[in-house]
Amino acid sequence: MILQTALLIGLVIFSVLAIALKDLLKSAISLAVSSLLLGIIFFRMNAPYAGVFEISVVAGLITVLFILTIALTKSGDEVRESKLVNWVFPLVFVAFLVIDALVMKGLLGKVPALASGPEAGTFGEVLWRGRTLDLVGQIAVILAGVFAVLALFRKRDKHD
């Protein structure tokens, strides 16, 4: 429980750093570290498949994509951020944490959630039999992403 809490605190700290840091490369690496911590949390919640996906795809692939984009857009660091945000951001965030700690306990009893019994079978059975349509949707989403990237990087025709 203590280790899990420490991992969750690390996850929030690195996520906030990813948003707050000025250097884009450092913030992309902080995002990768927070994904790594989230993957470890998933492993500790008995969800190894989600943990593997989180670490390999989100901490690996998405970080590479972010770093590639940062390298291709060199003057990205020159965007002037508003100075007001720099000191308002931590204040509002700490205020939200206090409200969150006070209110969340009361909300837990009121939010309706399905009270079902423990599941039977393995993860494979649940994924392939129970969520078959999700898999079809995933294939469609991947194809849509591929076509979108191809369309955005196509070469110009001669008459353009």
């Binding site: 899990q4 969750l8 996850l11 929030v12 996520s15 990813a18 948003i19 884009l24 992309a28 995002l31 989230l38 998933f42 919640m45 969800a47 989600a50 989180e54 795809v57 989100v58 692939l61 998405i62 994509l65 972010f66 590639l68 984009t69 940062i70 291709l72 857009t73 003057s75 990205g76 965007v79 002037r80 951020e81 508003s82 945000v85 951001f89 509002v92 965030f93 939200f96 969150d100 700690a101 969340m104 837990l108 959630a113 399905l114 079902s116 423990p118 599941e119 993860f123 649940v126 994924l127 969520r131 999700d134 949707g137 995933q138 989403v141 991947i142 992403g145 979108a148 990237v149 955005l152």
Partner: protein
Amino acid sequence: MTNTWYLYLFFAAALVFAGLLGLLGKRNLIKLFIAIGVIGKGISLLLLSTGFAKANILTAQALVITYIVIEVSLVATALALIINIYRHTRSLDIRDLAKLKG
């Protein structure tokens, strides 16, 4: 079990709020997508922790994997768009997008 669930929901809400603050305050396009990534982390933590607390971890895992696939596709498309915007405007400032001059 409720105590563990409370802990996870507390941190998931903190992540979502941090991402929303980033979306509201930042002007760099890449920073905005990093903020969207942070919101996504909060949502996947929420999904999996609810599955964990209600003894439905397998379905929750299937949903989280679906979300991760969607996120990869989203980020790839968005970063391709950002590179195209950078080629046009030579800047990553979101305010430059308001100038719709070709």
